[in-house]
Symmetry: C2
Subunit: 117 residues, 2 copies
Amino acid sequence: MPSTQDIESIHMRDWRWSQAEKIAARRAFEQALHQDLDTVMRTAKERIAQITKPAELWDIEDWLGDQRRRIDRDYDYRYSVLPIVFAGMIRSGRLTENDLHGIDPAKLDIIRRIASY
Amino acid sequence: MPSTQDIESIHMRDWRWSQAEKIAARRAFEQALHQDLDTVMRTAKERIAQITKPAELWDIEDWLGDQRRRIDRDYDYRYSVLPIVFAGMIRSGRLTENDLHGIDPAKLDIIRRIASY
């Protein structure tokens, strides 16, 4: 885990995002969100197609609620937290560093550091 | 709507249910519950098979939650409320009077009266 000092030294809230970086960031963010939603949709279709007992419906409802809450929580496009969001997406395999092409290398370096903790 | 006096005159909480009536009541109750759950399951399978946009998933999740709460609320097998439960099932078409065969005609008469309000 990063120390408090590390986090403070990052000063993400003060970062400036150029217009080109904002476009690159938005593209990567939307790509990860759409892929995630598509995976949830396909999984839901497969799971519900296979059930034979009505009680299994409620397991799927619970799972859908978990996915909805996870997506609402994880996809937060405020620039003040975006590096942490991208780091989480890299860590979970939803994005690669290549997907973040167009973002300032200094920011990418810190995103990489956060992802590696 | 029945008047307070009507409801009080019914004294459902004091009704005695014979063993044979309990078997008939349980059979009708389970039949309605299983048919209801099967309908929800089939509808959920049809709806989710047809969606093309992930956002539609959350509509189905909301709908499943509504169905779960409705079923939890409506299927209450306490003998003290069972006549009202059966009346509701008749009113909504989930049971017919024939399905309640085996229950004392005096009880059926009151169930029919409640259903007709």
